[in-house]
């Protein structure tokens, strides 16, 4: 019959009870995952060894002081300790993880800023200019309402007062202005997107 490996929870319990060999089994069982995780974040064997050591010193102290209360979740708990120590390391050294460019990964794929680039600015400027030209082609009453609403940011109440028409008429002129613009755009297949 095959030997069933002792569970982490039982090993932890035995270790707390004084069985030092249980710690050795736990370390041997999980060293690859834990060290691999630490090394993947640091890419430095010496520092990874230090963090691995500090992680288990915390583990030993917590278990020996009977402060451990996560039975059955030993590995995630240890991983969390090592994760916190890695963060502490970067904080202490004021370093951020270094990313290297590879064929599959470019740092610029995750970096961006909100400032539009020159190409985007040129396209926006062109779109605005084209739209202005189209608006100039609208009937005067529709153009007047659209300009007041969109460019001068006036409310329909203010537009109605300034143009001497009712709010409903102003709304209707705005609606026709937009419909006419759409017609012209469709007819000439103009692209007004950035």
């Amino acid at each position: 019959m095959a030997n069933v490996p002792t569970s982490d929870a039982l090993l932890v319990k035995n270790y707390i009870a004084g069985d030092e060999n249980s710690l050795s089994i736990l370390i041997n069982r999980h060293q690859s995952k834990i060290y691999g995780f630490i090394y993947s974040k640091l890419s430095d064997r010496d520092i990874a060894d230090d963090i691995f050591q500090d992680t288990f010193i915390k583990v030993i102290k917590t278990l020996k002081s009977n402060s451990y209360n996560e039975e059955g979740k030993f590995l995630p708990w240890v991983m969390r300790i090592s994760h916190n120590l890695i963060i502490d390391y970067y904080r202490k050294n004021k370093k951020m993880p270094m990313f290297r460019e590879t064929e599959d990964f470019s740092i610029f794929s995750i970096m961006s800023d909100n400032v539009p680039n020159i190409e985007s600015q040129l396209i926006t400027s062109q779109v605005e200019s084209d739209l202005r030209k189209l608006i100039e082609e609208l009937p005067e009453d529709q153009k007047e309402v659209l300009v007041m609403r969109m460019y001068q940011d006036l409310s329909f109440k203010e537009i109605s007062e300034l143009t001497g028409v009712s709010i409903n008429t102003a709304l209707g002129r705005m609606r026709y202005a937009i419909m006419n613009l759409r017609k012209v755009i469709d007819k000439h297949q103009i692209i007004l997107t950035n």
């Binding site: 030092e20 060293q31 060894d49 050591q53 102290k61 020996k64 002081s65």
Partner: protein
């Protein structure tokens, strides 16, 4: 190309801490004794 990637992946997964680190931890564990008295705990490290 695939061969290169798979070789690297295997090498990474094989990374283990130094034997001295493990030995230090086991010795440290054996030497450490924590005593709790009231709200305070005392760490006793035997040489």
């Amino acid at each position: 190309m695939a061969k290169i990637y798979s070789k690297n992946a295997l090498e990474i997964s094989k990374k283990l801490p130094k034997k001295e680190t493990i030995q230090f931890l086991l010795n440290y564990s054996k030497a450490l004794n924590i005593l709790k008295i009231g709200n305070k705990s005392f760490e006793i490290l035997a040489n």
